[in-house]
C-alpha cells in the first residue's frame, strides 16, 4: 500500500495538516502536498477510470505529464473537471471526485467495455457507425454522446475572476530548475531584462530530488543562493506557478499564472494570463520520463521511476511497500536508492540492458538490491492494484522466469526533452539514436522578425541529461561569461532504447501494453493502424487517438511513433513527430476570457441620453456596440403596442429620437469636394453651403455600403452623416483612400461622431417645439427642407438640420454631447403639451418603411447595388468616376434579371414574415427550388392599419400589380407587388 512516511518530505509542512475529501471520504494531507501526493499518502492509488475501457487508473507521474490522475475539484460554482492531481496544490477542505466511473470508482458499469476490448480496436467508431447513414444522427451519436467527455461540466457560473496582463522582456526563461536559474544568472549579469517563469510552486526542478551537487553544495542550497542573487537584481523578475503555455510569432508568449488555485475563496484573481513579448526565449523545460510498454503497464501501482522518487523525497509518501524497478537506463537506480533510504523494499531491479555496470547500478548492488540484467516484465498481475510482476528475458517472447510479489512498479524508458516551446513556433528536431530521444536542433531553431533564432533550449530540454552538461549549456544559452556553475552527480552509462517489453511479445501481450493511458491506445492499436495503411504519424494519431487526450501525448507520443516506425519498417526520424501545438498544458477558459465578462464582456457604447432611456423603461436593441432604445413600453403595454403608439404619436403630434449614434465625419480641404465626389455616387461638390443632400457610398466592387445626409458647412468643409454602424468603418474607408490612393489630394477628415448628441424632432408639432426652445429662426422660409442652420436653441449651441427619415416635418438637432441630456430634457419639457414623446428604433423603422426609405443592412446585404434599390436618382450619370462605378458596369450588375426593390402588400393585410422567399418554378443544379424574391423589411403600419413590406424581386419594377407567393414554413402567403412608398407619396407632410 502507499502511505505517509514518518520522516522526510522536503516540500511538505507537517505543522500544517489539511483535511480534504475524495469521493466523500474524509482524508488528511499536509500543506505543500499536491493532490496526488495527499491521495497516495492515504493509500488512494486508484484515482479514475480510463476513457474508453473504463480501466482502473492510478497515479503515473508527479508532474504536468500525468495522463490518469484527473479529478473533479471543488463544489458548486467552483467545481471544475479534469484537474490534474499531480500539479494541483492541496488546500484546506479540497473536495475531489473521481471521474469516468459510474456508479462508483470501484464498481463501474462502463468497465464492461474492457471485456469487449478486442471488439473496440483503433478506428472502431469509424468502421462501425458508418452504415446505415441515417443511424448516425438518430441512433449512434446520441448513444456515443452519453459516454463522451471526461468529467462533469460545472452547472453554475464560475465564481472566480480572471485577468490578463502584458509584459515585455529581453530574455524569457521558461523553467526554474537549475538550468533555468543558471541561464537566468548568466543573462541577468549581462544586464538584460530577464523574466523567469516556473510552472510549479517550487524552484530548483528535479536536481534536489536527484541528489545533484552544484559548486560543492547540495542543490537546494545552491538554488537558494541563486534565487537570492536574482531577487537582488532590478532587471530580473521571478514568477512561480506560471506555466508557459505557448510560444508564437515574433517572440509572443502566453503563460498562465495560477494566482489563487491554492487559495480558493480568497479575493484574488484565480488565474492570470500573461501576454509577453520576449526578444529571446530560453526553454529550460526539462525532460519527461517515458513509460515502458509491457503488458499490464496501466494497472494502478505502476508509475514512472522519477515520480516514485519525487513522492518519497518531496512529500515523504511511499508509493508502495515493495517496489520493483524496471528500466533501460541508470537514472532509475536513483529511485531504488531513494526508496531504500526511506526504509522501503526494492525486491529487484529489472534492467533491459544486457549489462548494467555503471556507478549507479553498482551502488544499488552494494546496498544489496538484486539487479537482473537483460530482464523485463512479461506481465503485471493485479486488477485495481499491482500484486506481482512476471519476469522475462527482454530478448525473448515473454516466457515467465519468475514472479516477484510487489505492490508498486517503478518504470523508466528513458527521457524525452520537453521541446514543445522550441517546436511550437517552428523549431525542428534531431533524433538522438543513442539516447532514444528527439532533441532541438539549434541549426533549425525558430526565427523571429529579424530572421534570427529566438528560442533556444537549455538543460535537459536541450538533451543535456547529465547535470554537468546541463549547466554548461544553460550558462552558454544565457550568454554567460566566465565559468559555469559546476554540477556533479554520478556518471550514467548509456541507456538502451526499449520500445516494447519483451522485444518479441506475442499479440496477447501487445494488446495489454498501454501507450496512451488516458485514451486507451495500446501497442496493438498502433500496429493495427500501420497494417491498415496508415503511414503518416499525423493520420495514425487521429485514427488511434494516440496523444489526443488532455495530456497531449507527453508520455505516449515517442513510444507510439517508435512502435509505428517499427511496424512500418523505417527508422524513427523517418516517421517524425506530430506537430507540437500550444498550449503546453491546458489553461482555463477563464484566463483566456480574462476580465471580459459580465458588464465588461465587451464595450457598451452609451449616448449622453443613455441613462435617461434606461430610467424610462427603454427596451434595448443592440446596434453595433451601442444599445439603442427599441421602444419605451409603458405600464401594461406590450412592446408592439408601444411601437404602435410611438409611430402614431409621431405622425400626429411630436416624436423625439436619440440619433446620437449616427456617424458624423467632417471632411475639409481644397480637394474635399473632389474627394466626396469619388466617395459618393452622387455629386457633393456642387452642394451649396448651408444645404443637405442624401448620399450613397459604394465599395469598389459596386455594392452599397452606407448612406446618409451630407451637409456643406463651408466652402471647403462638408459634414458626412453615416449609419450608426458605419461611423468608424466609413471614417477608416475615407482615410484609406486618402492615405493610400489620393495622397496628393489636400483633404483632412475628423470623426466627430461623439462630439455631438443628436436628436431627431419629428412630427407636425416639431417646428412649434423648436420655436418654443428659442434662439433660431426655424420657419419654413428661413430653414427650408434640406437646409441647416447654426445658432443656439434653449441656450445651447446647436446645429439644426431640416431633414426627414419619416416623411414628417422633421429636424435633427446636434448639440455638444455634454449638453445632450439637458437638451433632451428641455425638448420633453417644452413639448409636453405638444405631445412630445420619445420613440425608439422600431418606430423609426416603421416610419421609414411607410415612406419606402431603405435601410442599410435590411435592403442591403453586401450583394445589392444602388441600382437595385431604385436609387438611380442619387447616382450621377455625368461623373467620370466614383468608387464602385466601374464595378456597376460589369455584366452581372447590369443584368435586367437582377432582383430589384418593390413594395409588397399581402392580399389579406397580414404582415409578411421577415426574410421569407418567393419560390419560382423549377429547380437549380442542386435540386433546390428556384426563387424570385425575398422580403427585406416588413412591419405592421398603424398609419395604414395593415401589413406593409419591401422586398427584392426579380425584375420587380416591371411587375407592378402582379401577385406572387411567399413561403414561410408550411404557409404560403400571397402578396401584390406595388410601389414601395406607402404613405404621402408626394412628400407634402415633410415640406410644410
Amino acid at each position: 500500500m502507499s502511505t505517509r512516511l514518518a520522516t522526510g518530505g522536503r516540500l511538505i509542512d507537517r505543522t500544517k495538516p489539511l483535511g480534504f475529501t475524495f469521493d466523500g471520504r474524509a482524508l488528511r494531507g499536509y500543506a505543500g502536498d499536491t493532490l496526488a501526493a495527499a491521495l497516495l499518502a492515504n493509500d488512494q492509488m486508484m484515482i479514475a477510470r480510463s476513457f474508453k475501457y473504463h480501466r482502473p487508473r492510478g497515479i503515473l507521474a508527479a508532474g504536468v505529464e500525468e495522463p490518469n490522475a484527473l479529478v473533479g475539484l471543488g463544489q458548486g460554482p467552483r467545481h471544475e473537471p479534469d484537474q490534474r492531481a499531480t500539479t494541483t496544490e492541496l488546500f484546506a477542505d479540497a473536495a475531489m471526485v473521481s471521474q469516468n466511473a459510474w456508479p462508483s470508482l470501484t464498481l463501474d458499469v462502463g468497465a464492461l467495455n474492457t471485456l469487449f476490448a478486442r471488439f473496440l480496436p483503433a478506428g472502431f467508431y469509424y468502421k462501425t457507425f458508418m452504415f446505415p447513414r441515417f443511424a448516425w444522427k438518430h441512433l449512434y451519436e446520441p448513444v456515443v454522446r452519453l459516454s463522451a467527455g471526461i468529467g462533469k461540466a460545472p452547472a453554475e457560473p464560475d465564481a472566480d475572476r480572471y485577468e490578463q496582463a502584458y509584459d515585455f522582456t529581453d530574455v524569457l526563461i521558461a523553467g526554474g530548475g537549475i538550468a533555468g536559474l543558471t541561464a537566468a544568472l548568466a543573462a541577468a549579469q549581462g544586464g538584460q531584462r530577464v523574466l523567469v517563469l516556473e510552472q510549479t510552486a517550487h524552484w530548483g526542478g528535479r536536481a534536489p530530488v536527484d541528489g545533484v551537487a552544484i559548486d560543492g553544495k547540495p542543490a537546494d542550497a545552491w538554488v537558494a543562493e541563486a534565487l537570492a542573487t536574482l531577487r537582488a537584481m532590478p532587471n530580473v523578475t521571478l514568477r512561480r506557478r506560471t506555466m508557459v503555455a505557448g510560444v508564437y510569432d515574433h517572440g509572443f508568449v502566453i503563460a498562465q499564472e495560477s494566482v489563487a488555485d491554492h487559495l480558493p475563496g480568497a479575493d484574488l484573481p484565480r488565474h492570470r494570463l500573461w501576454r509577453i513579448r520576449a526578444r529571446r526565449i530560453i526553454a529550460a523545460t526539462g525532460a519527461i520520463e517515458r513509460p515502458l510498454a509491457f503488458a499490464g503497464n496501466d494497472i494502478p501501482g505502476v508509475m514512472l521511476a522519477s515520480a516514485a522518487r519525487d513522492y518519497v523525497v518531496n512529500f515523504a509518501v511511499s508509493p508502495g511497500d515493495r517496489t520493483v524497478i524496471v528500466t533501460n537506463n541508470d537514472d532509475a537506480y536513483r529511485t531504488a536508492l531513494a526508496l531504500l533510504d526511506a526504509g522501503l523494499v526494492v525486491p529487484a531491479i529489472l534492467d533491459a540492458r544486457a549489462t548494467a555496470s555503471g556507478e549507479l547500478p553498482n551502488m544499488a548492488r552494494a546496498r544489496g538490491i538484486r539487479v537482473l540484467e537483460g530482464r523485463g516484465i512479461a506481465k503485471v498481475k493485479g486488477g485495481k492494484r499491482v500484486r506481482a510482476v512476471q519476469v522475462c528475458a527482454q530478448a525473448g517472447e515473454g516466457a515467465e522466469l519468475e514472479t516477484i510479489a510487489c505492490d508498486c512498479v517503478a518504470m523508466s524508458g528513458g527521457f524525452s526533452p520537453v521541446v514543445h516551446l522550441f517546436s511550437q513556433p517552428g523549431g525542428k528536431l534531431a533524433w538522438d539514436a543513442a539516447n532514444g530521444m528527439f532533441t532541438p536542433d539549434p541549426a533549425r531553431a525558430p526565427t523571429g522578425a529579424d530572421g534570427q533564432p529566438f528560442v533556444a533550449c537549455a538543460g535537459a530540454a536541450s538533451g543535456a541529461l547529465q547535470a554537468h552538461d546541463c549547466l554548461e549549456g544553460a550558462h552558454a544559452a544565457g550568454g554567460g561569461t566566465g565559468p559555469a556553475p559546476q554540477a556533479s552527480a554520478p556518471p550514467e552509462a548509456p541507456m538502451q532504447p526499449v520500445w516494447m517489453m519483451p522485444q518479441g511479445a506475442p499479440p496477447a501481450l501487445r494488446a495489454k501494453m498501454w501507450l496512451d493511458f488516458q485514451n486507451d491506445v495500446k501497442v496493438s492499436d498502433v500496429q493495427l493502424a500501420a497494417r491498415e495503411g496508415y503511414v503518416s504519424v499525423e493520420h495514425t494519431k487521429r485514427y488511434t487517438t494516440l496523444g489526443m487526450a488532455s495530456d497531449q501525448g507527453k508520455m505516449s507520443n515517442i513510444n507510439g511513433l517508435a512502435i509505428l516506425s517499427d511496424a512500418l519498417g523505417q527508422p524513427i526520424p523517418a516517421t517524425g513527430t506530430t506537430t507540437f501545438r500550444p498550449p503546453y498544458a491546458p489553461i482555463s477558459f477563464g484566463a483566456i476570457a480574462g476580465e471580459a465578462r459580465g458588464e465588461i464582456f465587451q464595450p457598451l457604447r452609451r449616448t449622453p441620453m443613455h441613462g435617461w432611456h434606461e430610467a424610462n423603461g427603454a427596451h434595448w436593441e443592440p446596434v453595433g456596440l451601442w444599445r439603442r432604445p427599441y421602444c419605451y413600453p409603458r405600464a401594461g403595454e406590450t412592446q408592439t403596442q408601444a411601437v404602435m403608439r410611438e409611430v402614431t404619436n409621431t405622425r400626429q403630434h411630436l416624436g423625439l429620437l436619440d440619433a446620437s449614434t449616427l456617424g458624423k465625419i467632417v471632411v475639409k480641404g481644397p480637394d474635399a469636394g473632389r474627394f466626396l465626389d469619388m466617395l459618393y455616387t452622387g455629386v457633393m461638390s456642387t452642394l451649396p453651403v448651408g444645404k443637405c443632400r442624401y448620399g450613397l457610398m459604394c465599395s469598389e466592387n459596386g455594392f452599397l455600403m452606407d448612406d446618409g445626409v451630407v451637409v456643406r458647412l463651408a466652402d471647403d468643409t462638408w459634414l458626412c452623416h453615416t449609419t450608426t454602424g458605419g461611423a468608424d468603418r466609413i471614417h477608416a474607408h475615407m482615410e484609406d483612400w486618402l492615405q493610400c490612393e489620393w495622397w496628393d489630394w489636400q483633404v483632412y477628415t475628423a470623426n466627430l461622431t461623439e462630439q455631438f448628441a443628436q436628436i431627431a424632432i419629428v412630427g407636425p408639432n416639431a417646428r412649434e417645439l423648436l420655436q418654443r426652445l428659442g434662439g433660431l429662426d426655424v420657419s419654413r422660409e428661413a430653414l427650408p427642407f434640406m437646409a441647416f442652420a447654426e445658432g443656439t436653441l434653449a441656450g445651447i449651441p446647436a446645429r439644426v438640420f431640416r431633414i426627414s427619415f419619416s416623411g414628417e416635418l422633421s429636424y435633427e438637432v446636434a448639440v455638444p454631447a455634454s449638453h445632450g441630456l439637458a437638451f433632451w430634457n428641455a425638448c420633453l419639457a417644452a413639448g409636453a403639451d405638444l405631445g412630445a414623446m420619445p420613440y425608439g428604433t422600431e418606430a423609426l423603422h416603421v416610419l421609414r418603411a411607410e415612406k419606402g426609405f431603405i435601410m442599410i443592412g435590411d435592403e442591403t446585404d453586401g450583394t445589392v447595388i444602388p441600382q437595385d434599390l431604385g436609387l438611380g436618382w442619387a447616382i450621377s450619370k455625368k461623373k467620370p468616376d466614383y468608387l464602385g462605378k466601374r464595378a456597376q458596369e460589369r455584366a452581372h450588375m447590369t443584368n435586367p434579371d437582377r432582383w430589384k426593390l418593390v413594395g409588397l402588400e399581402t392580399l389579406d393585410g397580414s404582415v409578411l414574415p421577415d426574410g421569407v422567399l418567393a419560390p419560382a418554378p423549377g429547380v437549380n443544379a442542386n435540386g433546390q427550388r428556384l426563387t424570385q424574391g425575398r422580403v427585406t423589411s416588413t412591419y405592421f403600419s398603424p398609419t395604414l392599419g395593415r401589413g406593409i413590406a419591401m422586398g427584392l424581386v426579380a425584375r420587380g419594377p416591371e411587375r407592378m400589380g402582379e401577385e406572387i407567393d411567399f413561403v414561410a414554413g408550411d404557409k404560403t402567403i400571397r402578396a401584390r407587388i406595388r410601389d414601395q412608398v406607402f404613405y404621402d407619396k408626394d412628400g407634402e407632410k415633410q415640406n410644410v
Binding site: Y248, D249, H250, G251, F252, R277, G426, T447, G448, A449, D450, G451, E700, N701, A732, E735, D736, Q739, C740, E741, W743, P880, D881, K885, R886, A887, E889, R890
Partner: protein, 106 residues
C-alpha cells in the same frame, strides 16, 4: 502575433493594435478599364510563400496606413514604409535582396 514598427510614429506595434489591409501596391482600375484589368485589380491577389508586401493600418495608434515587406513562410520582416508609394522603395528592395538573394523581385 506579429510586431510591426509603424514608420509614422515609430511604435513597435502589437498585431492587436493594427488592422490588416491585404496586398500592397495594387494599381486601381476604374471606368474605362477592360474586364480583365478590373478583375485583376479587384480580385486577383498574390499568395506567395516567401516575400510579400502588405498593407497595415496602425488602427489603435496614429491611424496611418503603412506597408510591410515580410516573408510569409518565416515571418521575417524586411521593413515597413509609408503607404504613399506605388512600389517598394530601394532600401526595402535592398534589405530583401540581402536576406533573400534568390528573390525574383517585386
Amino acid at each position: 502575433m506579429l510586431t510591426l514598427t509603424c514608420p509614422y510614429c515609430g511604435i513597435a506595434a502589437d498585431e492587436t493594435e493594427l488592422a490588416p489591409g491585404g496586398q500592397a501596391h495594387l494599381k486601381r482600375f476604374g471606368p474605362g478599364s477592360s474586364d480583365d484589368e478590373f478583375e485583376g485589380y479587384l480580385f486577383a491577389r498574390k499568395n506567395p510563400k516567401g516575400v510579400h508586401f502588405e498593407r497595415w493600418r496602425h488602427a489603435y495608434g496614429c491611424g496611418k496606413w503603412f506597408l510591410a515587406a515580410r516573408c510569409t513562410a518565416t515571418l521575417e520582416v524586411f521593413g515597413t514604409y509609408p503607404a504613399q508609394v506605388t512600389e517598394p522603395p530601394p532600401e526595402i528592395i535592398a534589405a530583401i535582396k540581402a536576406k533573400r538573394p534568390d528573390w525574383k523581385g517585386f
